[in-house]
């Protein structure tokens, strides 16, 4: 598992695109700079959408890990 502390986990498994990304955006909107968010998504579209949004919004994509049937994304709010 991840060594860093996760401030909030968004379990979006089973949600269709763009639910997982929108939940992450909502969490980051409410969160503080430096907080770390974990998103679990089983949606294929998340694999491109989440990294693309994190890059555009200039946050930090800390980790992407493939698990059984879903993907873990770890994102730090950078600004």
């Amino acid at each position: 598992m991840f060594a860093m502390q996760i401030d909030k986990t968004i379990d979006a498994r089973g949600m269709a695109c763009p639910g997982p990304l929108m939940n992450l955006i909502g969490a980051i909107r409410q969160g503080q700079v430096g907080q770390v968010f974990e998103v679990l998504s089983s949606d294929e579209g998340s694999k491109t959408d989440i990294p693309a949004w994190v890059a555009k919004a200039k946050h930090e994509l800390v980790e992407v890990v493939q698990d059984h049937g879903y993907t873990h994304f770890v994102v730090r709010k950078a600004r």
């Binding site: 949600m15 763009p18 929108m22 949004w53 555009k56 919004a57 600004r79």
Partner: protein, 378 residues
């Protein structure tokens, strides 16, 4: 003794659900609808009011005229649901008991959640749509920006449809060549559904509507006439149209029946509350991951009506559940439209835009009053 069925909200879902329960229960239910205004509003028409294609009066009828004679209407606002005592307290202080409760209170728009956004126009309320059309009539060229200030919002295709209908309006007035139209999308495509976005994006380009992706509106500066995104971009405008942030009704928050945004937490198939087996929720009011639209409320109302009638009759719960079915139209301008159909297991499909879908939407909208509220459309 007949069961007391209480329905909160006289919109698409609440009205249809009440009528169908009264009809199918064979006199074993006393059905009551509580609605804050007693006026039924056809919200999909706001889009057309905003571009001068519909009159506000054509979108409203008395709720009583749409309910069966054996459904009682109480014009009052639900203030609190007390699931332990199985009763609802109204704003007037009156209390209504229930055996089965259907919550169809919809959503509310909260533009004030975004700093400065109150200065923007919107077409998510009747008053907003009327004001927006007035502003368009006074507009004689410049930059029109359309953005989204929060997800989820009602009718996901609406901002794209508005962009297309606006383009038609500006062309008809002969000021399209003096006007830039910019659509700011919170996603990396025109709207939530990828397949339909692929279909409409080339049409946006063809009409000269500029699409900016990953623009989640964070604040508006009405003095500088700029809108800034969560992603750090700033765009200037002369006329700003925003989809407001939405949340559930206050009664849901005050009754502890929902999540932190006031969306009622129900099972996505049975639509039954996750904690209270005699409470159901339908339409925009729920937290389920599906479009907030009249179409969803319509399909859900039928499922919940069947479940409640079975419960009243002491029969086993029906085997059919809500499968995530959505069917809606998307105007693409110049007299054409497409449709979007999907459910939880089938990805969305959209045909090529054609005149027939535009007319299909127009016919549906005009005949709505005689079909959907009465449960005449499956």
């Amino acid at each position: 003794m007949a069961a007391q069925v209480l329905v909160l909200g006289g919109g698409v879902g609440g009205t249809m659900c009440a009528n169908v329960i009264a009809k199918r229960s064979g006199g074993r239910a006393h059905v009551t609808v509580v609605d804050a205004t007693g006026i039924h509003v056809f919200q999909p028409g706001f889009l057309y009011v905003a571009v001068g294609q519909e009159r506000p009066s054509a979108l409203q009828r008395s709720e009583a005229s749409l309910l069966r004679h054996d459904v009682r209407l109480v014009v009052d606002r639900a203030r609190k649901v007390d699931p332990a005592a199985k009763r609802v307290i109204l704003a007037s202080g009156r209390t209504l008991p229930y055996d089965e409760l259907v919550i169809a209170t919809g959503s509310r728009t909260v533009m004030d959640e975004v700093p400065g956004a109150r200065s923007a126009h919107d077409f998510y309320t009747m008053a907003g749509a009327v004001q927006l059309f007035k502003a368009l009539e006074a507009f004689d060229g410049g930059m029109i920006v359309i953005g989204v200030a929060g997800i989820p919002y009602k009718c996901p295709p609406a901002p794209v449809e508005f962009a297309f209908l606006l383009d038609d309006y500006l062309r008809a007035r002969g000021i399209r060549n003096k006007t830039e139209v910019k659509l700011l999308s919170p996603l990396n495509r025109a709207f939530t559904i990828e397949a339909t976005s692929k279909l409409v994006q080339p049409i946006l380009a063809e009409r000269g509507i500029e699409l900016t992706s990953f623009f989640n509106v964070e604040s508006v500066d009405p003095m500088a006439k700029t809108v800034t995104s969560l992603e750090g971009e700033t765009v200037s405008y002369d006329l700003l149209v925003l989809v407001p942030p939405h949340r559930g009704q206050k009664v849901i928050e005050d009754s502890g029946l929902g999540d932190e945004r006031g969306w009622i937490t129900v099972d996505k198939n049975t639509l039954k509350h996750e904690k209270f087996p005699d409470i159901w929720a339908i339409g925009d009011a729920t937290s389920i991951p599906i479009s907030k639209s009249g179409s969803v409320a319509h399909y859900e109302a039928s499922v919940v009506a069947d479940e409640i009638v079975a419960a009243i009759r002491g029969e086993a719960a029906p085997t059919h559940v809500y499968d995530g079915k959505v069917m809606c139209f998307l105007e693409t301008g110049q007299g054409q439209a497409t449709t979007i159909r999907f459910d939880y297991t089938h990805p969305p499909v959209s045909p090529r835009p054609a005149r027939i879908w535009h007319w299909g939407k127009a016919v549906f909208n005009k005949t709505y009053w005689h079909t959907v509220p009465q449960g005449r459309l499956p």
